[in-house]
Subunit: 343 residues, 4 copies
Amino acid sequence: MIRFESDYLEGAVPEIMSRLIETNYEQTAGYGTDPYCRAAREKIKLECDAFDADVHFLVGGTQANLTVIAAALRPHQGVMAAETAHIEAHETGAVEATGHKVITLPTVDGKINAADVRDCVLRHRADESFEHIVQPAMVYISQPTETGTVYSLPELEEMSSVCRELGLLLFVDGARLSCALACEGTPTLRDLARLCDVFYIGGTKHGALFGEAVVIKNAAIKKDFRYIIKQRGGMFAKGRLLGLQFDTLFTDGLYYKIGRREVTQAARLRTAFEAKGIEFAYPAPTNQLFPILSGTQLETLRKKYSFSIQTPLPDGGAVVRFCTSWASKESDIDALIADIKNF
Amino acid sequence: MIRFESDYLEGAVPEIMSRLIETNYEQTAGYGTDPYCRAAREKIKLECDAFDADVHFLVGGTQANLTVIAAALRPHQGVMAAETAHIEAHETGAVEATGHKVITLPTVDGKINAADVRDCVLRHRADESFEHIVQPAMVYISQPTETGTVYSLPELEEMSSVCRELGLLLFVDGARLSCALACEGTPTLRDLARLCDVFYIGGTKHGALFGEAVVIKNAAIKKDFRYIIKQRGGMFAKGRLLGLQFDTLFTDGLYYKIGRREVTQAARLRTAFEAKGIEFAYPAPTNQLFPILSGTQLETLRKKYSFSIQTPLPDGGAVVRFCTSWASKESDIDALIADIKNF
Amino acid sequence: MIRFESDYLEGAVPEIMSRLIETNYEQTAGYGTDPYCRAAREKIKLECDAFDADVHFLVGGTQANLTVIAAALRPHQGVMAAETAHIEAHETGAVEATGHKVITLPTVDGKINAADVRDCVLRHRADESFEHIVQPAMVYISQPTETGTVYSLPELEEMSSVCRELGLLLFVDGARLSCALACEGTPTLRDLARLCDVFYIGGTKHGALFGEAVVIKNAAIKKDFRYIIKQRGGMFAKGRLLGLQFDTLFTDGLYYKIGRREVTQAARLRTAFEAKGIEFAYPAPTNQLFPILSGTQLETLRKKYSFSIQTPLPDGGAVVRFCTSWASKESDIDALIADIKNF
Amino acid sequence: MIRFESDYLEGAVPEIMSRLIETNYEQTAGYGTDPYCRAAREKIKLECDAFDADVHFLVGGTQANLTVIAAALRPHQGVMAAETAHIEAHETGAVEATGHKVITLPTVDGKINAADVRDCVLRHRADESFEHIVQPAMVYISQPTETGTVYSLPELEEMSSVCRELGLLLFVDGARLSCALACEGTPTLRDLARLCDVFYIGGTKHGALFGEAVVIKNAAIKKDFRYIIKQRGGMFAKGRLLGLQFDTLFTDGLYYKIGRREVTQAARLRTAFEAKGIEFAYPAPTNQLFPILSGTQLETLRKKYSFSIQTPLPDGGAVVRFCTSWASKESDIDALIADIKNF
């Protein structure tokens, strides 16, 4: 079975594994205060051109989301997000468990737009019962989104501008950020640091064993953030494992290379599907593809490949998801393309 | 200014006021352990034909909602409700502040239906990522709804049946229950006690100074409920004030009379609006009317009456809300009808 | 049975009951936006010489405590309090249910002192693992305390001074404040407004049916406080009932008179106990007395009086509590004194 | 600098590192559903003689504590623990952030005893205001404790017996369990599985890169536990990394060997301190030593060794902590012993 159902099926890039072995017997202080974390922080700040940023390393995405939101909001405030957003749909109410409402905005492709954010906030402010309604105070977006789509630089600039005008915090979940960075016309790390209050750079899905690097620009969120990490169970004892992984990913542009490779391989698959007239549920230029397969096509591919079913369709077909990862083998991509051609 | 914007503008029915005065110097134990609370509980259980029920008196509706939900659910469980439900839209995230997600279901008239509940639950159970999604565990409905509509007895029976089949709790918010009881074809208190796990009988909007009587049938919710009341700030020191009010409301059918009067007065207003061809946003047979007024009509009525703007319309008109209350004067109703006739 | 077990056994002072009757049919806007609330706020601000304060009316003490603390603290912050404090010992974890730890300080008489607060904070700041420990950020004291003792003006000034020096919030629970105001050498309302960030003036135990007036001086706590009230279930629909009660209590010095009367009656009882050589568990000058009675004395008094057992003693005696209230009758006090004399 | 300040300064045992490398390119399903997790679960259940147990792998100890407690308790329930317990003193209020109070019991050496648990519960049940007090529902102990002491088998049996008699849950935090297992007269894994409702086997401090294996015996805690893991941010994407580590630790008795080695090395240090007449703050037979050093001794050792200061003493000395770990070198132990001899 060749697996394409997600991008966290394998371990880590060899550069990381070597360094884990090399440093295994070193003794370092715990909880992210070691030299590897310091070095990784400096490299990320340099890459973001944000020397005033705080950088914290967390183990996973849900943990990063709930920790940032708990740190940033007062109890009566909520976070606006697409109705398909990870925090709304796939974190078992982790945000609500910190006491905060997710205020959903409509979406067709996983993205939300600045105009809808503005409407939501202005409607709240104009309502005579505004104190009886959760106060929208933060915008959460994913880059790329759950459905593999990306925000262009102008789109992010507009969102940021609306947020600043209305006094909202802007938070970007970058669990698969490397892939978005590899797309044309998308914001760079510098753009993200310039336009957001807080965002994170995903490692788990881009070549690390695990780890997300949270970059905080907003002073109010920075304050006492490590207390919140500890309180939410995210203070990792052997913190250097996180630092060392991000230090490696931000050495010699490795993080960018991983995303480019994932995107390139996905593009090859996309072309193969398109050549057979297969349509996609979302216009996703990153490492996730959502082709709409017929029942027969599903049956054929299931024999050799694993992939996830996103939405079963009444005709026996389904919207499915194929992911490429840092470890996808060219030969596996070739095999899948060949089988698509034979549809 | 004659006020129709809500049904909590005045104090309490004279029967209650007299008894407050009469009993003012009596000494009774606190926290709901006094003879008036005991008497009120017995009357309510009798009326519900539910001698195994527990009855608790709380001060207000949001408090009742958050206390019941906190008592009933485990952390990963959520409550299904209409997207217009009070707990979703008008409690500043009180439910989320207890850690629970409100899972919204679509609605056109404020009601949800059993088929949508079933779909929501079955979709969750069939999802391969079900553990990553809040578990739907309770159904919350209001009788009548926020938009004044009511569930018929067959509708509630169907909802109850789906809940029991799927192992869901059924919770009915009866903040304006007296009005629903006054409508034809609706569930009685006995029906509610038979079909629900927990519901409450609203006093604040039906002639009491304040107070909601929570009736619990489900043994798991009953257990230690008073601890939860105290923890959520709802343990009322001079509890007899609550008991005494409900004892009065459930003497000589007063609670039913109040609802019938409110509904009758609202019906007179409805007829007057209809006679002028004015449409309503919702088919509401209770004490809340939602006529769609033109800008001119709004201007005319604003001079003498207060009412609330529910939704401003692009043409300068609005969906507005008129409420009758236990204290609405016939002469005020007459005056408003006369002014409607002159449109 | 003559009851002395608490000070919330009766209804409200006649001045309040009359006004409830007089205003019963008036129509006013809900949720504390009515003229009675406005008038009460102005009177309280005048009395506190604090025109920049915000005043909110809540129904009960636990509700006031949890709402203030939830509004004031970030998630990783805790509130320091005596190990006997109401929030620690008698609110079923209401503060923890908002996510915050109560950090206990030792006490012998219900009070905590500024030196212990300073030590607690400095110890936290000096600890190399400080981020792994809840950050002490607020001081909670009761005036008077659970055991009836009071802070003198110099004691409160010293506490306030330590709080300001260390950047801590100072919160005073005044559920029985009227009695503390009636004692010599205690802070006045003006002192409280000058020295605290937030405090409340208790009505429930001083002649109101219910109600606590929260006075906020600190701008950060003021912000959006009404949202927090609503979220925690404390937004009272017929808010004017609260305003009207506090307006009455702050007319013609009624609030002060009630406390003075309660304290004077308690003093008569204290003298009677002392005349028989009976000792007290705490040096309490307010309306709560904690005599240490023998088993025989307990038996004798139990025949005619109710009072609460605070701590049973191994010899069959107990520390008990007698409370006077606004409604205590002189004849009942006389009867009890006579029975004490006959010990 | 030779480091002894904690037992999480190094990476992982070579057996684990080899397997990480070997399996790096394998593709496995995520979230703990892979074959390595299955194998590790089976080995642990075999070792515990508990085939009905559920075993879950979490990344860290605070995460394990808060997840178990959130899963097990209803909102009004609290967990009893020593005043020095990790959940009370070193988790930044993680338990309170889930809404639950930690009810502290006195301790002299980090342990609590069954009699104090019983007293606490019976006092609660006998209190007439019991509903106003957090309900004690769970006992949390660490084996070994924060101060390195251990519960003997009879002590744990007595605790378990009291818990079962009173209907309390018993939860054992085994972050350093391997060391306790290496001590004489302590409970085995089988004993723990027989006597507790839930406990965990610590990997982070015993040779793993990270990871704690939570073993659940109680059916109510088992139910839907994976939802709670996800909600609290603990669902690890590449779950096999956890399974693989525990599979390795439970192959050929490696987990036991690690603890025995740590304890043996600590014993050599203990003997060296004792030979110089140095006393210990706690009678700790495990891998943590708490000698009371003079200022001069501190100065001498600081030049070559790092260790943590637990409590500074007025005379310039301090209670300090030395830890041995799986990776402590014999030569480093020898060096330290030589320097102690030269005091």
